[in-house]
């Protein structure tokens, strides 16, 4: 994997030179004298925790922010980038983490939007289509120019975004957290596309906190911590562990310590669970699963095998069509979310912005979202704002939610990792018997992931039951006491977490032979 580096990097040709960039917001310094040099044909990773200042730096480069001081040179010429339009003219293109595509439009329409080639007074869609096909083939993107964006996968949509940038003539591509919403398969494909780009002389700036991908794709890596540049290193000469500790500023534990525990009584028992997805197609076909006290059960599986529906039924958001769900012996099948919460089930939802938080509410309000009507947060229907604030301050401190004293800020103002911390703080302090965590570390950086993992294991060590549903195989394998594999709406097999290996799991996830002892 490592021999790809350098052979196509032209170290004599710097395409981007950012020197001593300072960006202040009021009294807060987001970028403190950061310098960054990118060469032709190079993949340059910008690594940093959530809120370290990497997005600010890229927004400066893309003309969304003006730097407080510092200079930028593009292709050796000093450049005053005061708008994205200017950046595009200079050959800089940005693919944002959240795509900006018109869903009902076709791929071609999306790509040419805003700069349609004209033929008289009509759009010359044929010429555009040909140019897109040519670009797609050159970089092996396999994009169908006539497909509607709403019909294609997230990975494909991202390629459309990349094509959009290339179509506008970009030679320097900024990819902001490009793998945050991709499956492992799609990530591999993206990395090969990135390689095709650099082979063609393009430069790529990769903003990420995923170390694996940096190792797999980047040539150089600039590490940013609290707005300052820690170092720029050659990726082939460093290790994931070293990158992680330099990013966080301390040693990072990749493996979480678990104390020996024998699973106790069953907490959650599901038998013959059946349910349909939003189209009414049956996706859960008689699923059996038990979670006991003092164990983390990892539910592994490829997305779309019924995990989402399972969790929705368990949390009361969707009605199941058959089977039994028992929580500590009591029937909670098709109960309301409130009743289910009352029976001791809490969850860290998959979509934290949709289900986990009210983004327009303050952090303090979000922290009492299920308990606001109970003592001591309310008395006779009157909110006790003092108590709610104190509660928030305590949790913010205990769970290291940043920025400090953010209790009156809205949840939407926090970074993704800190939003997740708010949810975890809330759910863990609910101290219920069963915690359901769905992709709890999606989009989080190493430091935050370590934090989340520690709390999941803590719950288990406190003799609670934890059901972990995740697409990250590493996460499932390192945390679970028992791994259950879901395939096509049923449990395809299980194995102890201690002797799980990726190969066998992968086979079971793909519906291969089951290893059910």
């Amino acid at each position: 994997m490592e021999d790809h580096a350098e052979d196509h990097v032209d170290l004599d040709t710097a395409v981007i030179q950012m020197e001593n960039i300072v960006k202040k917001f009021g009294t807060f310094t987001a970028n403190d004298h950061i310098s960054l040099t990118v060469h032709k044909g190079e993949v340059h990773a910008v690594l940093g925790e959530n809120g370290a200042g990497k997005s600010t730096l890229m927004n400066v480069l893309y003309g969304l922010y003006r730097p407080t001081s510092g200079t930028i040179k593009v292709n050796g010429e000093p450049a005053d980038i005061d708008s994205p339009r200017k950046a595009i003219r200079l050959g800089i293109g940005m693919v944002h983490q959240h795509f900006m595509l018109v869903q009902p439009f076709t791929v071609t329409e999306n790509i040419i939007l805003g700069m349609e080639p004209m033929k008289g007074i009509t759009v010359d869609e044929k010429a555009a289509r040909e140019r897109i096909m040519e670009l797609s083939e050159r970089y092996e993107m396999k994009v169908d120019p006539d497909a509607r964006v709403e019909d294609i996968s997230v990975g494909m949509q991202q390629r459309v975004e990349i094509l959009k940038v290339l179509y506008r003539g970009a030679d320097i591509l900024i990819l902001d957290e490009p793998t945050a919403s991709l499956t492992p398969q799609e990530i591999t494909e993206l990395i090969s596309i990135i390689r095709n780009l650099t082979r063609d002389g393009k430069s790529v700036i990769l903003i990420t906190h995923k170390l694996k991908e940096i190792k797999a794709s980047a040539d150089y890596c600039t590490i940013i911590r609290s707005g300052r540049c820690v170092d720029t290193v050659k990726v082939s000469g460093t290790s994931e562990r070293e990158l992680a500790s330099r990013m966080v500023g301390r040693d990072v534990m990749f493996q979480v310590d678990k104390k020996e525990l024998t699973p106790g009584e069953p907490v959650l028992e599901m038998t013959g669970l059946r349910g349909c997805d939003y189209r009414g197609v049956e996706v859960l076909k008689g699923l059996d699963l038990t979670v006991r006290r003092g164990e983390i059960v990892g539910l592994a599986g490829v997305d779309g095998n019924g995990q989402s529906e399972l969790v929705e039924i368990l949390t009361g958001l969707r009605r199941g069509t058959g089977g039994h769900v028992k929580m500590l012996g009591r029937d909670v099948f098709n109960a309301s979310p409130k009743e289910i919460f009352g029976q001791g089930i809490t969850s860290i939802p998959e979509d934290r912005q949709k289900y986990g938080l009210v983004l327009d509410f303050s952090v303090a309000e979000n922290l009492v979202l299920q308990n606001y009507a109970k003592l001591p947060y309310a008395k006779q229907g009157i909110l006790q704002n003092g108590v709610i604030m104190c509660h928030a301050k305590e949790l913010i401190k205990q769970f290291d939610i940043r920025p400090e004293s953010c209790e009156t800020m809205t949840a939407g103002q926090l970074s993704g990792g800190n939003q997740q911390k708010v949810i975890i703080a809330r759910e863990v302090t609910n101290d219920s018997d069963l915690l359901i965590a769905v992709n709890p570390t999606r989009g989080l950086d190493v430091g935050a992931i370590e934090f989340v993992h520690r709390y999941l294991v803590d719950q288990r060590n406190k003799n609670k039951a934890v059901l972990l549903v995740s697409f990250e195989l590493d996460e499932i394998m390192s945390l679970s006491d028992r791994i259950e594999v879901i395939f096509n709406g049923q449990i395809a097999g299980n194995m102890a977490g201690s002797d799980a290996d990726e190969k066998t799991l992968g086979l079971m996830m793909a519906g291969g032979e089951s290893h059910n002892e």
């Binding site: 917001f25 983004l359 327009d360 979202l369 606001y372 103002q413």
Partner: protein, 358 residues
């Protein structure tokens, strides 16, 4: 940005929108060959000229504060009550019916009328809410239809033999004196305004109560949560359907109360409508000018009431009273596009000085 900053900027852009509204009005007046300064002078003196004028402005404002509160409350809880008009009519009708048909001693009779109006307004909204919750029918559509239902129901009831006034006039009999909410004779004589009533006190009290409910109670917390993000609210165990029902009923009750204040305080009877009177729609304007803040609605309602009353004086300079509607409409457009200005100023500010952190 802190809370004060947001409030400040809301007030700032509202103020700017008001100035722009007057400028547009001035252009139109000039185009019609009327001296804008003279017209605005008349408007101003029509509002602040003497105690009587000012009192009338307050009387005009009271029902608007109620419909403004109704709409503002709905905005805060995630529904759009475009049906305040119908709920207002339902409230007026109920208050008028009880005022004409029932018989009770003085304060009790008024109280009965007001209760009937509250119930009618709440019911009128609750039916639409039920349709939304049970069948997913968009509340905007059903509210608009319910506005017309209330309109024709009112005209029907006005013409019933038991209600219709004898001796001509397309209106009901006068409401019994025991049911009116007029201020004591002394105050009427002092101000010279024949309709000075307790409505403004009720309106201010209602605004304070609504502010308290929204910000300080568990009820308000749940309603706001559903308004901002029904998914997370549901996930958190809040019954979203019940919240929508409650929010819309309260919103309807406020509009109905406005109808009672108008009927018992100022009109004393119900006339047959030729067209929708617009108290509910004007409530949307009030809510927008007041930034959906209950306290803001008091001031916005007073502003609209003053403009409405002052506008009647414009005919003295041969200017049409509709100029006021144009000014109010312009204000709303500019409040609606205020965020464009805001982005413009904020980005300019940010670029020059390095503004707020996002």
């Amino acid at each position: 940005m802190n809370k004060k900053g947001i409030l400040y900027s809301n007030a700032l852009y509202t103020f700017m929108a008001i100035i722009v509204g007057f400028c547009v009005g001035a252009v139109l007046l000039a185009a019609a060959g009327i001296d804008p300064l003279e017209a605005y002078g008349k408007l101003f003196s029509g509002i602040f000229g003497n105690v009587k004028c000012m009192t009338w402005c307050v009387v005009y404002a009271s029902p608007l504060i109620f419909t403004g509160l109704s709409v503002a409350f709905s905005f805060r809880t995630g529904v759009f009550n475009i049906g305040a008009e119908g709920q207002f009519v339902a409230g007026s009708l109920a208050a008028c019916a009880v005022g004409v048909l029932a018989d009770a001693p003085a304060p009790l009779h008024a109280l009965l009328c007001i209760s009937a109006a509250v119930a009618a307004g709440a019911l009128w909204a609750a039916v639409a809410a039920l349709m939304k919750v049970k069948r997913g029918i968009n509340e905007v559509l059903s509210f608009i239809m319910f506005n017309w239902l209330a309109f024709y129901l009112s005209n029907y009831v006005v013409n019933l033999p038991a209600m219709r006034r004898t001796g001509g006039g397309e209106a009901t009999k006068d409401i019994a004196g025991t049911a009116l909410i007029l201020a004591p004779q002394g105050l009427i004589r002092l101000t010279g305004c024949s309709a000075v009533n307790y409505g403004i006190l009720l309106a201010v009290a209602a605004a304070l109560i609504i502010w308290f409910i929204i910000n300080k109670t568990t009820l308000g917390f749940g309603l706001r949560a559903v308004g901002y993000n029904p998914f997370a609210a549901k996930y958190g165990g809040i019954n979203a359907d019940r919240a929508v029902m409650t929010a819309m009923s309260i919103s309807g009750a406020l509009a109905g109360l406005g109808g009672a204040v108008q009927t018992l305080g100022m009109s004393w009877r119900l006339s047959q409508f030729a067209g929708q009177e617009g108290f509910g729609f004007q409530g949307i304007t009030v809510a927008l000018i007041g930034s959906s803040n209950p306290i803001g609605c008091i001031f916005a309602g007073l502003f609209y009431g003053a403009m409405k009353y002052g506008g009647t004086k414009l005919s003295l300079v041969n200017a049409p009273a509709e100029v006021v509607d144009i000014i109010m409409g312009t204000i709303i457009i500019f409040i609606a596009v205020a965020h464009i200005f805001r982005n413009f100023f904020v980005s300019k500010f940010a670029k020059e000085k390095g503004g707020e952190c996002e």
